[in-house]
Every structure is written in C-alpha cells, then in structure tokens.
C-alpha cells in the first residue's frame, strides 16, 4: 500500500515533466540584494528556449517493486524561504508605512509551496509599501500574482496580455492557488499552441 512518500513522489513526476520544459538551468536563479529573481526567463515566449531543469533531483525508482526515495525540493524553494526570512526582519521604518506581518509571511510560504507542488516556479516576492507581499509568477506580456495582505486577505491578480483588463479576485487560499494555477496552465497551453 503506497505511503505518503509515494504519493508525494508521484506528484513530483508530473511536476518534473512540466517544469523541465519551462525552467532554465539552476544557475539562472540568483537571489539579489532585495529580491528573489530568477533571471533566465520571464515569459512564455522564452520559456521554451531553456533546456531542462536542474533543481529537481532525479527520481530514484530502483525496480518494478517501486522502491522510491523521497525527492529533494528544488533549490529555488529554499531561496524563497530565505527571502521571506529577510522580509520578516525588515526594520519597522524601512522607508514605507508597514512591513509584512507574520500572517502575510506564513500565508505566502504556504502558497509558494502549494504552487510548487502544482509545478509553478516563483518569479519574485516583493514587499508592499504598506505591508503585505506580492507573490509573482508572470510579469511581462501576461501578469499573474497573488497579493497577500497583512490582515490575511488574498487577491489573485491576472492579466491575459498588454492592454487587457486586469482581473482581481478575492479568494480563500486553496481556491486562490487553484485559480492562479489554472491561469498559468492556460497560458502555457496557448503558448504551445501558438
């Protein structure tokens, strides 16, 4: 009977299959002084140029009896966690009216992990001038991000293209993750069809 690890690993099979087409090599993921910003890709237009993903450790299935070893999480996930640690220690007077709250930091980390399990790699995390955090997954022709407020509200913000109206949907966490994930997957489908 498969245990939790087996389920986790099978989830990563589909994640790896998806991200290997989308992500650039790990060297492109570079934390900067104020921002976690992978630099190798920015839009669906250039995602297909990168070869494979290097962050996900190869799966180890040793035999047909399915001896499975847990998969290491991608390196960028650790960088995202580190980045949230930095935001959590911004000075109170960091130049703006509020810093991210503990609640916003916690919700952000939960969303980043949920999105990673769905195969979506983070583009950037940015603190809001008045508290809260934006979790950014697309920021070019299309845009897609979560606004996570200090009080705990989550808004999914999407824009299908330049000039298109932005959509703002206020949702609980699980639904918000599903909504943004659907948008990004539709974006990928459209890019591969084009």
């Amino acid at each position: 009977m498969p245990g939790k690890d087996a389920i986790r690993v099978s989830a990563f099979v589909s994640v790896a299959a998806t991200t290997s087409l989308l992500l650039s090599p790990s060297s492109s993921a570079t934390p900067t002084s104020g921002l976690y910003r992978p630099t190798g890709w920015a839009s669906s237009a250039n995602r297909s140029q990168g070869p494979g993903v290097l962050e996900l450790a190869p799966m180890s299935i040793q035999s047909s009896a399915q001896t499975i070893h847990p998969i290491e999480p991608p390196a960028w996930l650790a960088q995202a966690k580190e980045r949230l640690g930095v935001l959590g220690h911004l000075p109170v007077n960091w130049g703006c009216s509020e810093k991210p709250s503990e609640l916003a930091l916690s919700v952000t980390w939960s969303i980043v992990q949920s999105m990673e399990r769905r195969g979506h790699r983070l583009l950037a995390i940015a603190p809001m001038a008045d508290g809260g955090i934006a979790i950014i997954y697309a920021e070019d022709v299309q845009s897609a991000h979560f606004d996570v407020y200090n009080e705990g509200g989550i808004v999914v913000v999407t824009r299908a293209g330049r000039g298109a109206p932005a959509q703002y949907v206020d949702l609980p966490e699980v639904e918000a993750v599903a909504e943004l994930s659907r948008f990004l997957e539709h974006d990928d489908d459209a890019a591969s069809a084009g």
């Binding site: 900067t32 002084s33 104020g34 921002l35 910003r37 630099t39 920015a42 960091w94 130049g95 703006c96 009216s97 509020e98 583009l123 950037a124 940015a126 603190p127 809001m128 001038a129 008045d130 934006a134 950014i136 920021e139 070019d140 991000h145 606004d147 407020y149 509200g153 989550i154 808004v155 913000v157 932005a166 703002y168 949907v169 206020d170």
Partner: protein, 147 residues
C-alpha cells in the same frame, strides 16, 4: 481627475514623482503594484523638481529609481463590481492629492485614498479593491530615472 488640497494648486499636467525601491520595479521595467502605499503614497510635485534624479537626493538610500505620473492621469475614483450578481459591491474610494511640504522636502505631497467627500486617508477593507487601486495607479506610473 483627482481632487486636490494645498497651495499652489496642482495643474492637470503637473508631474508627480514617486521614488522606488528595487523591489518595486518588475523584470519588464514597469512599476510593480507593490510601490503603491494605500496609507498615502508619497510623491514629489514637479513644480519643485528640476531633474527626476534630484528626488533621490532627499529620500531613503535604498531607493534606486523614480517614476512619474501626471496629476490629471490619476484615476479620480476606484470601484469594483460585485463578485457575484446580486452581491453588494465594495464601497468606492476617491483619490485626493494633498500638497504637504516637509522640513527637508518642499516638494512632498501625498496621493490619498479616501471615502467619497473626505480628504483623510482611509485604507479600504476590501482586498480586491485594494489590489485594484494598486493596479490602476501602478500601470500609469512610468520609470523615468534609474541609477
């Protein structure tokens, strides 16, 4: 066009400059919505600004760029439709630009977000409205200087 407060009055085409942290500039070079402070977004009014780069001399050393918006381009009102038919819509908010000079910055002004008819800043409670205000204002700001 937004309401205004202060003397001298803002002209429609007067430029307002917003200083930016690196985090607030997207990889596409545009201003991120995170640059908008719903508790009052500080700007420098163009009447007292020579070059946009001058704004950085009186701000936080971590600020690295300057974006601009004309007074008349600031949306006067923000409102979001109900999420479902029949559901109540969030109350609208108005923008008010207030000239509020500081001892170390004669150009300092604030873009405030207020309930209709008021001039004191009041952060909206609706998360969707908050994000909409950020989005509508950020998309009209454009980066004019980056060091």
């Amino acid at each position: 066009m937004p309401r205004q407060q202060g003397d001298p009055a803002f002209a429609d085409d007067e430029q307002l400059y917003r200083r930016l942290h690196e985090d607030w500039i997207g990889i596409d070079g545009r201003v991120r919505t995170t640059a908008i402070d719903l508790q009052g977004t500080s700007v420098d009014r163009g009447l007292f600004v020579g070059e946009p780069s001058d704004c950085l001399t009186r701000g936080d050393p971590d600020e690295v760029a300057v974006a601009v918006i004309a007074f008349g381009d600031i949306p006067a009102r923000f409102e979001v439709p109900p999420e479902k038919p029949g559901a109540p819509a969030a109350k609208p908010y108005d923008s008010v630009v207030v000239y509020k000079p500081l001892s170390n910055n004669v150009a300092h002004s604030e873009i405030r977000f207020c309930r209709p008819g008021e001039t004191e800043n009041s952060k909206p409670s609706s998360p969707a409205l908050k994000s909409q205000i950020r989005g509508l204002l950020a998309e009209r700001l454009r980066v004019v200087y980056r060091r």
